[in-house]
Structures are given as C-alpha cells and as structure tokens.
C-alpha cells in the first residue's frame, strides 16, 4: 500500500472499495495489527499500531473472510472461547447467541453450519468485545436479509458508543446509507477519498472499479 492517508473520527463509518487485489483487506489487517507496516504508520484512538499494538487490539475487532471458529466446537463453545480470550469470561453468551440469531444451533458443531451462520458467529465474536474500532472485511458474504440487517445494527451500535467502523466490500450499495466517508483503492493506492455526500452513485461505481 502506498500514499494511503485518512483520519476516521469517532461515530463514523468508512467504506473501503476497490477491485480485487486493490489492498482493501491489507488495509484492514494493518489496522487490526495482523500486519506491520514496512513504512509509514498509524494510530487507533491515540495508540500506535506498531509500538502499542496490544492496546490497539483491546479496542479493535476484526471480522475477516473466514469465521476463525473451530469446526469441532459448538457455536456456544466458540463464542465462550472468544469471550474468555477477550477477558470477558462472564459475558452473557446466551444473550449474544440470541442477538445474532444462533440460539437454534447453539449446541451444534460449527462444521455443520452454513456459511451464513458461520458469518453470524464471526460477527458475534467481534461484537461481544464492544470494540471501539470495528473492521469488517466483506461482511455480507453468505448473509440473508436478516444477517445484512445485523451488520447494520452492529455498525450503528458501534458508532453510537463513540466507536468507528471500517467496512471493506464490493457490495458498497448496501452501506451507502450508513457510510460517512469513502476510500477507494486501486493497486494499493487511493483513487478517491472523501465524504459520501459529495459522491454520486456513478462516482462510487467508478471508484469501486478502480477508476478515478
């Protein structure tokens, strides 16, 4: 990635668009501290991404394209594990299961779940951390209409608590109403940065395709 500079204020949602291999996932993984920048840097709520990575991890939750769940554990056990690793062993797992619509399959092993249900589990694992920076990479994959609404609810909840959300997706039409700003990438470089309000749908479509 090169020349990517942005400031994301609290209570706001950044939509990251761009064609395949444009650097969307890389950007999210950098913000999540899964990758270290070779040059340049950044901070999350005042914490440096490299020097203060653990403090960033406390504030951040990342939902990647894979659920990061264990096939042989049940949905409930996976969620309880995520809660324990987040330092919240007493988190109300049953409430979270209910909130994301996983109660009927709570005691099923993850290996029998559909991709949409696995995606809901990944969202729940991130949501229960009450993150201040929520990073969603292609969050709509496999989700039905209720699942899409769940992403919107999660986004709203995070911003209402003073947090920020970064959503990288090809399905940018779904986020248009929630996003405050857009960062369009092509080959690791920004082709468009700015408030959503200043862009037309045609501008966004062009930016999502990597064209200025």
């Amino acid at each position: 990635m090169r020349d990517v500079t942005f400031v994301l204020p609290p209570h706001s949602v950044l939509l990251v668009v761009g064609p395949n291999a444009s650097g969307k996932t890389t950007l999210l993984r950098l913000l999540a501290t899964a990758l270290r920048p070779t040059d340049g840097g950044g901070s999350v709520f005042g914490h440096d991404l490299v020097r203060d990575a653990d403090a960033v991890r406390v504030l951040t939750a990342f939902v990647g394209t894979s659920a990061g769940a264990y096939d042989l554990l049940t949905v409930r056990e996976n969620l309880a594990f995520a809660a324990a690793m987040r330092g919240r062993p007493d988190a109300p797992v049953a409430t979270w299961l209910d909130r994301v619509g996983l109660t009927p399959v709570a005691d099923d092993p993850v290996r029998v779940l559909s991709s949409g249900m696995k995606r809901r589990l990944a969202l729940a694992q991130a949501w229960l951390a009450a993150p201040r920076l929520l990073l969603l990479d292609e969050p709509y994959g496999g989700l039905d209409r209720d699942g899409v609404a769940l992403v919107a609810e999660m986004t709203e909840d995070t911003t209402r608590r003073g947090g920020s959300v970064v959503i990288a997706t090809h399905e940018w039409e779904r986020v248009m109403n929630e996003a405050d700003a857009v960062l369009a990438l092509a080959a690791g470089q920004p082709v468009e940065v700015g408030p959503v309000a200043q862009l037309t749908a045609a501008d966004l479509a062009a930016a999502a395709g990597g064209r200025r």
């Binding site: 993984r29 999540a32 501290t33 899964a34 653990d54 403090a55 991890r57 406390v58 951040t60 990342f62 990647g64 894979s66 659920a67 990061g68 769940a69 264990y70 096939d71 042989l72 554990l73 056990e77 594990f81 995520a82 324990a84 690793m85 987040r86 330092g87 062993p89 092993p109 694992q125």
Partner: protein, 219 residues
C-alpha cells in the same frame, strides 16, 4: 486481563478439539505402540530394556504429535483471530503447552501399563517414582515442543524439520528419562540425571515462552 484464565481457555479449547477429533492421540498412540512392539521384538522384552524403549517411543510419538497442536489453528483458519485477541502471546504458549502436557501424560500412562504387561515391568511398585520422571520428561518435551511447533508453522516440509529440531534439542530429556527410569526399575543410583532434567526444564520454562512471543510476532 487475567493471563491464567486466557491460558486455561486455550488449553480447554485444544483438549476439547482433541477429544472430539482424537487426531493427535490416535497418531501418537499408534506410533508409540508400534515402536514398543517393534523394539520389543528386535532387542528383546527384558525389563532392563524397558526404560530405553519407553522413552524412545515417547520421543518419536512427541515428534509426530506436537506440531498438530498448533497446526490445527492454521487448518481451521483461526490463527489470525487467535493472535488478534488482546493480551500477551505467552498466555497462548502456556495454554497450548498445558494441553500438550495432558495429551502426552495420557500417552505415557497408557505406555507404562503396556510395558507392565509386555515387559513384565513392575510398574505399580515404582508408580510414584515413574510418575515423577514422567512429569520431568513431559514438561521438557511439551515446553520445547510448543515453541518448535510455532517455529515450523509456516515452513514447507515441517514434517521433516520437526524431528531434525526436536530430537537434538530434546536429547537431554530423553536421555535423562531413560537413565532415571532405568535406575528406578533396577534399583541403581541415578547419579546427576535428576539435576540435569530439572535444570533443562527450568531453563526451557524460562526461555521458551519469551521466544514464542518473538516467533508469533513474525507469523
């Protein structure tokens, strides 16, 4: 954040996954069983040879089983999420090490019973001393093994690299356990071997978690 609770969560998760999949214990158990039977036939099943056969079988079983504990995270595409949880990676080390210790302990108990049956070793009379040696040996193997499993995680040909790294590094453990077990079973003096084993374990326990953090930062 309570490190002990995080380590316990990792250990419980690994043991649950192992209990339901039984991949590691089946593979290590089969290797250990075959080695004991094979070596028993080749060198004879006199009680005097039992110590060496037991710990050589444990060593090779460990080589096979240890990488699976961490490799499972990669196979499940869960490693990145695991590393993104806040808190020291040392907690992950101790959780994985504890799970491995439990698995190797279960294997050792099964092998001791097998030795009692096949080699006519009086396991019951020396039970306490043998458990003591087992603890020292398994702690050493688990601590070194957990570090090496992380080290070879993304290396191609890790199945080859693991024995090349583990067997030389764990040689003091295997050798020490053979000599101590021999001494217990034959009633001879153990010499300096208890001190060697304890020293190895102490150094490993102090150094390996720190190196694990460094290794995981580069994963």
């Amino acid at each position: 954040m309570n490190g002990f609770l995080r380590a316990a969560a990792v250990a419980r998760k690994d043991l649950r996954v192992e209990w339901r999949g039984r991949q590691t214990i089946t593979a290590t158990g089969m290797v250990a069983l075959l080695m004991i039977l094979l070596l028993g036939f080749v060198v004879g099943s006199e009680p005097a040879r039992a110590a060496a056969i037991l710990w050589v079988a444990m060593g090779f079983a460990a080589v096979l089983g240890i990488p699976r504990v961490t490799q499972g995270e990669v196979d499940q595409q869960a490693l990145e999420i695991l590393l993104l949880y806040p808190g020291s990676r040392e907690h992950l080390f101790w959780g994985k090490c504890a799970a491995l210790t439990v698995m190797l302990s279960a294997l050792l108990v099964a092998l001791l019973v097998l030795l009692g049956v096949l080699f006519g070793v009086d396991v019951w009379d020396h039970g306490g001393a043998l458990v003591g040696v087992g603890v020292l040996g398994i702690v050493g193997l688990s601590v070194i093994g957990t570090l090496l499993a992380a080290l070879v995680l993304h290396v191609r040909g890790r199945e080859l690299l693991m024995p090349l790294l583990l067997l030389p590094l764990a040689l003091p453990v295997v050798l020490g356990c053979v000599r101590l077990t021999e001494a217990i079973l034959t009633g001879t003096a153990a010499g300096l071997w208890p001190a060697v084993l304890v020293s190895f374990d102490v150094v490993s326990v102090l150094v390996c978690p720190i190196l694990f953090e460094v290794v995981m930062d580069e994963v």
